[in-house]
């Protein structure tokens, strides 16, 4: 597991059913591209988060394939429609096999 990785998600606690809400996601990660060399000239191995998904009650909201050019601490902001109360689940997949997860419940009135 890469060092200092911590997912952060901002989702409103409640919304009216059918509302479109804005979700913000940030994960601290160094996103080593694999293109750089250390001071001895050795290649620094690639270590990035290669995939990010968000699902709502099991249904896919967004599924992002990520590439090495994406900067450190990748940030995503997107809109989602909330038809009913439920749970957003966020999953980040690391190159080294680690999986970082976060869930947020939302109340739809």
């Amino acid at each position: 597991m890469a060092k200092g990785v911590r997912p952060r998600v901002k989702v409103p606690k409640s919304a009216s059913a059918g509302d479109v809400i804005t979700i913000k996601c940030l994960i601290s990660h160094k996103m080593e591209s694999g293109q750089r060399k250390d001071k001895d000239g050795n290649k620094i191995p690639r270590s990035i988060i290669n995939n990010f998904t968000c699902t709502f009650n099991g249904e896919t909201v967004i599924d992002v394939k990520m590439e090495p050019a994406i900067s450190t601490n990748p940030y995503f902001e997107f809109d989602a429609k909330v038809p009913e109360s439920g749970e957003f689940k966020f999953v980040w997949n690391d190159d080294d096999g680690s999986v970082y997860e976060e869930t947020k419940a939302i109340e739809a009135a």
Partner: protein
């Protein structure tokens, strides 16, 4: 700003875009709650300067960059505050202490950032916040000091600055610090390097104008440590001073040394009255 009127005329004739170097009149409200003082009257000691109003560097940035600082979730500097929090609770050194062992919650640091650099009676010297952190580490924890401008130091400064967010900067300029403050003032107005530029040439005489492709601000340090978009990390005051002096093509002073400490005291006092913003977001 001597050249402001001229710039405005030039802007009318040549291209409206030129006027963009001027600071704006936006209001900074963080998380929709904390309203910050980003413009205020000049302190007494600056009455003989050309500065008519103190302005946070925030006013000189684009709306997009400004917005980053107005929401803690969007502010990339807050990542480093989290790291600082982890450091706060980490036991290090021979004494078996962490910061939390003595100071408990970081909220005990409220007000600290606003008054530093300040006189330390026991040590008989002016101490910056970074010097105090390292003194605490070496004397009370028996731990290795942080590198003066390093990441761990910046994280800790960000955590401590955050506790004072919104409080007005209020560093003392008289009493035991008077000599050091005068030394800092001297440095501020001394031209350095092949370009023969003093701090004042850019940040007092020309704030609001462009320096090549970038806006010159008043060089306030109320927002430090600062997350800079250009290097995607937190930057400390002395690292920034070093960059500025280097840009005049001079040999720089040593970060953590007496010259930059004096300069930090003086520059901090030029922001007396502005809110503590750290960690702020700049270009």
């Amino acid at each position: 700003m001597k050249f402001k009127a001229l710039t405005a005329i030039a802007a009318l004739i040549v291209a409206p875009g030129l006027a963009m170097a001027d600071p704006d009149d936006d209001t900074m409200i963080i998380n929709g709650e904390v309203e910050m003082i980003t413009k205020t009257a000049v302190p007494e000691h600056m009455s003989d300067t050309a500065v008519s109003e103190l302005m946070s560097g925030w006013h000189f940035r684009s709306d997009e960059t400004q917005a980053l600082q107005m929401d803690d979730f969007d502010n990339p500097g807050m990542i480093f505050v989290d790291e600082g929090m982890a450091q706060w609770e980490t036991v290090e050194g021979t004494e078996g202490n962490s910061c939390a062992s003595c100071h408990e919650d970081p909220s005990s640091m409220k007000g600290v950032r606003a008054v530093y650099p300040k006189w330390n009676e026991d040590a008989g010297e002016v101490r910056t916040l970074a010097m105090q952190i390292n003194a605490c580490r070496t004397e009370n924890m028996g731990a290795e000091p942080y590198k003066y401008t390093g990441g761990e130091m910046a994280n800790m400064e960000a955590l401590i600055a955050l506790q004072s967010r919104g409080m007005p900067i209020n560093v003392a300029t008289d009493g035991p610090v008077a000599d050091v403050w005068e030394q800092g003032k001297e440095l501020y107005y001394t031209r350095t390097g092949q370009l023969e530029l003093s701090c004042a040439n850019c940040h007092e005489d020309n704030y609001g104008n462009m320096i090549r492709a970038d806006h010159l601000s008043q060089g306030q340090i109320n927002g430090f440590p600062t997350y800079r978009l250009k290097n995607a990390k937190l930057n400390t005051v002395h690292a920034r001073f070093k960059g500025c002096v280097r840009d005049t093509r001079a040999e720089t002073f040593k970060p953590g040394g007496p010259e930059f400490t004096a300069l930090e005291l003086y520059v901090a006092s030029r922001g007396n009255g502005l809110s503590v913003e750290g960690p702020s977001v700049r270009n």
